[in-house]
Subunit: 360 residues, 4 copies
């Protein structure tokens, strides 16, 4: 041991320096992680002009293959993602534009925000998309899209890129031609598997993801409103339906849990919290959510984030339908999912702050 | 050893007698099983008058709690079942009749043959039934039925009673009252789970069977005919859809695989064989099947049996819809399922005999 | 309706006759099943002389391919099986005898009762067998055996033949030659998979049954007695270990649950009952069981049956090890397993009768 | 559109600034990730002196609860972890030291490097540890340790902290007292579950991880060397055994695949690559690995990393046993696992560089 504090400090500094030179670090010096998803909201009213501006300034194919604006959670410095594991991006395409066919190990979803006349093609099958439609382009499936209609078309792109990058398992491949060959009738998967309770016995779909490409909003909305006549659903999540793989009952995508949530006019859910950072997109409606004591007002086509383990509750001013996605399918089998109701104040948080949307 | 054949025979006889007295038997003396499901067909035209006659002769409640005629496969001496593991029975109920609530470990299904206005109640939920509907009353669920409409109502009862009896696992219980309390809205399960691809997240259904009580024929027929515009399905089974549990993708009932099969006008499937004795009921249509080289002509509402490992192929003269059930969900995980295509004669058997339906 | 009881009876008789002629039967006339597994015990002291006598009277190959005495439960008229789904047979082989290689869809097990020097070969691997060893010859695996040692060798054959026959899924095939080629080192599976907690990553064993052929008794006994120093195990089943497939944690055989049970000297288990007819074979020890109120005294190498849903409890006079097998792996996933403790009289039945073993 | 490039650039800059102010970023400006696990090796000869120095300079409890040096992969700037999802740290404890009981959602393993006389206690059970032992402290299990022997004790700590942090699912809790109560006999889990092929039926272990705390190296080494007499195992991974959960056949830990690998003297495996960054620790032996064309010489107690998708092959100069761990249990069910053999040059990479270990 050393004789005085001064020289001990010096010795320690030398020791730490020596450790560092060996590509190592003392665990006891490590500081707690500060990079962490925060609650946030992106207003569509702010982003639509930006998207339109992008169509003017950025020609497709030259600088950008796709015109996509990434929602960058301010808590995740430099990570440029909505939550620590998931992306939420807005993509705009204009009539006549196409995106060349490719595939990647990241799984993706599209939730249509605006417009019609565009299709996504996945593994030889085309599906035309309408607002509210939930479209899957799973892990390693060839996909491309094109816009044959009028006016701009906008959708929300959800991807598990940050998660797949953490695993250093990201692969990407361009198809040999711009468009993959279309080998199936449009929406064939919908007719084969869409009934959900009737399995076509002659088809072998040996995959971890759903065989369905497009879960049409018209159908989802119909199921939601029919149920709304009989039940309020969960006290925490109201009427929430999970988009499933009808062949397994599991999630539509292996890595992303996707849900449609209906809040009735005036419904105020109780607060709870759970692991799994969650992205909400307002398909229709108006209301607010209280997230970790902060009020987030939302309207049609807005997108917001509830971080992992943040208390949250929702209030709908009018009937509202939210599209919701998170990483629960990964967390749950690993024993990393946990959930807790808020038991004080009759289940409702005190609102201590109000989020102000818009530019910094 | 003994000196002569005569005394050896005598010694053997004494030995065998001694073995028998010990409640044992020499394996080498056992003969091959001769009791075996045979192909057979029961005509509805023969049975409807018998059922009507039963309503006149046999008051409900006195001799018979339910008026049910059991299809007794002639190959299964004394077993009085359609196949070695499954029952296929016709039940008739008349307006105003009810069956008291009970439950049993045998799983049951109903395929409605004729009439309307009757309901089945399962675990607090009522569902009214129409021709072609597939209704489940799974293992140990309370169920009862009543007829509030006009005219006779007939359905096919499918049960796994012979299988459950083999396991000596048969339990039965009467409900304390004639009718169980109705605690849910009619057909609530259909609205909650019928979409198949949208799981209600606030409901926990922790069971080996489907949460659905009634798979309505109108919907099934719609899916079948939509698919028929695009495909012929399997060369052996045409367009065959399995009724599934949407929460698992597995069979609607844990012990009975249930299917709807559409044959297009003129469609002639190729022959194959598989383990699992199978019962076919003609919901609609007209045609014939060749089973083990024998021709079985069938029409609307007839019921026939394809035994385990018998070659079979189907020919539809007009568009035909068959309801099909067997014990595959049990066979498959045990490694007892096997299947083989008929490769000779371009996949079609030689017809060497024609089955003559009707009374012996 | 008819005018008098006499003529009604006559009409009914005619009607029932008419129904029968249509290969049908009224459900309401059916009587309850009377064929049912009963508790029973076969003493080895009675059977050893019979087996030895068989070796003198019945040459292998002439009348009998194998000298096997079947335990025929007296409750199962004509069925000649120990329980409704399982066989328990004693097989004797003499030095120099071999059994030609074959395979069948029935799964089989061997529990060695007496002797040594004989081997079983399964799928190209040989294993020599000693008393207490549990040997598997699963569904559709090639197997044969031979006796290269001295003196008679006896084992208990357990098979699921009655179950497989109920499913009409029985297939059998002789190997092209008497002996299958030996392609692996003796007991290779034991070294590869016997550690149980260390999976050899370069082997793909894609099957519903265990890759292990022989679970040596010396090891099992060692585990049992080590545990016995610390615990009494279950109040109902004492220290009972299930033989498992180390690749899945599931049963060694897909259709038969197999267990080793140790009862300490003086241990008296509490009574319970469960579905699943169960066969007990006494590897070592002496004691008695009370089954449905009847006392069955047992000693070394005896075999007895506890029927489905019969109350049972065991008493060991000295340390006893039982080999136990039943059909639980089939019952459990089908929702047909149930279990109940005996709550009266401090968990012990009143003994109202004593079973007398030996010839009728 | 704008008239000149100059003003376009300016407009674009303004646009990008505007996007950024909205907490967003254009996808087309994003650069490829450069932070990526690189192959690396940490020599024990370098680290043992550092660890000993730490025991002199850093009193336990004052600055550091545990004296742990973290292996910081130089490719993962600032992340201070061995791979993108896993930690590999060296921990030293001195006689008499204890670590207070706590639990966390991160799963941890210990591979004992040096010394004896220390124990780990997990959920009320203690296990003393020897070199080569693989010890599990799974997700949310209480654990603590103490050193009752002589001399320093060193182990490798493997943890999934980076993965759990990515999911923002990290929870940690201190036990109310320094030591949790010991409620079980030492190594009770080993006697209950260690046989692997014999499941104790009276224990319910309802968890995603193994019930075993300590997989003793003496046993593992015995199994490895027994197998080595008969096989070379896989051409790529030699004789590699996975530590499994005997109740499921799955991985010992839900999130970390753990393996023991034996290379025979002179064995040279063929190169392959797969997703899943992998950590190798040399329990015994001497040799080298070629990773992405670079030669890494290793000896006893060294630790090295093979990044996801890097070609790698191993050469043993003497019999060598490696402890190996990675994140395969997470990758595989998500469809993110892929594997590829190196087909050129007879399966062996060209060595273009040699890694020089030691301080920078």
């Amino acid at each position: 041991m050393t004789s005085g504090d001064g020289s001990l400090t010096e010795e320690l500094d030398l020791f730490y320096e020596e450790v560092r030179r060996h590509n190592s670090s003392p665990l006891w010096l490590q500081e707690r992680q500060t990079v962490k998803t925060v609650p946030f909201l992106w207003r569509y009213d702010d982003f639509r002009p930006l998207l339109m501006r992008a169509t003017e300034l950025v020609p497709v194919g030259r600088q950008a293959e796709r015109r996509v604006l990434v929602f960058a959670n301010p808590g995740l410095e430099g990570k440029q993602s909505a939550t620590s594991t998931l992306l939420a991006n807005l993509q705009i395409i204009m009539p006549g534009e196409v995106a060349p066919s490719h595939r990647h190990t990241a799984s993706a979803l599209r939730l249509i925000v605006e417009g019609s006349g565009a299709y996504t093609a996945v593994q030889g099958e085309k599906s035309y998309m309408d607002p509210g439609d939930f479209v899957t382009t799973p892990n390693w499936t060839w996909h491309d899209h094109g816009h044959e209609g009028q006016g701009p078309m906008v959708w929300l792109d959800g991807l598990d890129v940050p998660m797949v990058m953490t695993f250093e398992a990201q692969f990407q491949e361009q198809y040999s031609e711009d468009k993959q060959p279309i080998t199936k009738a449009n929406d064939a998967s919908m007719r084969l598997f869409g009934a959900g309770t009737l399995r076509p016995t002659w088809i072998h779909h040996d995959s971890v993801h759903s065989p369905l490409i497009n879960y049409k909003f018209a159908h989802v909305y119909d199921v939601l409103t029919t149920l709304a006549k009989e039940t309020d659903g969960s006290p925490f999540d109201a009427i929430t339906l999970e988009y499933t793989n009808p062949l397994t009952g599991g999630p539509a995508l292996a890595t992303i849990g996707c849900f449609a949530q209906l809040l009735k006019p005036g419904q105020h859910t109780k607060a709870h919290r759970h692991t799994g950072g969650t992205i909400y997109h307002v398909i229709e409606g108006k209301g607010y959510s209280v997230i970790a004591g902060k009020r987030f007002d939302w309207g049609r086509k807005d997108t917001f984030v509830v971080p992992s383990w943040a208390w949250h509750e929702h209030v709908a001013e009018v009937e509202s339908v939210l599209f919701v996605y998170n990483d629960w399918p990964v967390l749950q089998p690993l024993g990393l999912f946990r959930e807790e109701p808020y038991t004080e104040r009759d289940g409702h948080q005190e609102v201590t702050e109000t989020f102000v949307a818009g530019p910094a």
